[in-house]
Amino acid sequence: AQSVTQLDSHVSVSEGTPVLLRCNYSSSYSPSLFWYVQHPNKGLQLLLKYTSAATLVKGINGFEAEFKKSETSFHLTKPSAHMSDAAEYFCVVSGSPIPYSGGGADGLTFGKGTHLIIQP
């Protein structure tokens, strides 16, 4: 079974300062990992994904994440926070191993979420 742990339920940063959202994963095989963002009363938007092609993954809106197998981590960072980044962020692991070998369409397992607050 796979799981993810988001180490902070809330993170508060000032606008223009770096953002770090922490995530650790547990998986019995090489996982697919994702970060999703959810703005208030909105749906889930994919920020970026790791599927073994490169350990440093660049996503939308200036976000990036680094897969570190030795630390079982997949932390999300952004050099400079913007007010529009205020939202809930979910670290997610896929049940399907990589490379994808066919078979069942496994559901995603979400972390508990990190609420990002941007101070003006």
Partner: protein
């Protein structure tokens, strides 16, 4: 680009009533997933369908059932509704040919009174 469509967007029901949520996947996507997100909670996987067959099952209550039709749209049927069923229900779709990345719809907000 076309996205996942869910209907209705909002639904209000009384306890013990039934509800049907619909999901229309992105064209040429063969897999549909359903998730439930309670207030202040993370989304929980309920069930998935691949090529109209149930593929994976998560924490879906026995009162709920779902199916995928020949046109690949899916419906989540919920019976004997309880107050605790009030949540945001997301549908996602993916394509086997494109690595199964899941694209989420906007969700249906179900309120049970």
């Amino acid at each position: 680009a076309a996205g996942v469509i869910q209907s209705p967007r909002h639904l209000i029901k009384e306890k013990r009533e039934t509800a049907t949520l619909k999901c229309y996947p992105i064209p040429r996507h063969d897999t549909v997933y359903w998730y439930q997100q309670g207030p202040g909670q993370d989304p929980q996987f309920l069930i998935s369908f691949y090529e109209k067959m149930q593929s994976d099952k998560g924490s879906i209550p026995d009162r709920f059932s779902a199916q995928q039709f020949s046109d690949y749209h899916s419906e989540l049927n919920m019976s004997s509704l309880e107050l605790g069923d009030s949540a945001l229900y997301f549908c996602a779709s993916s394509s086997t040919n494109r690595g199964r990345e899941q694209f989420f719809g906007p969700g249906t907000r179900l309120t049970v009174l």
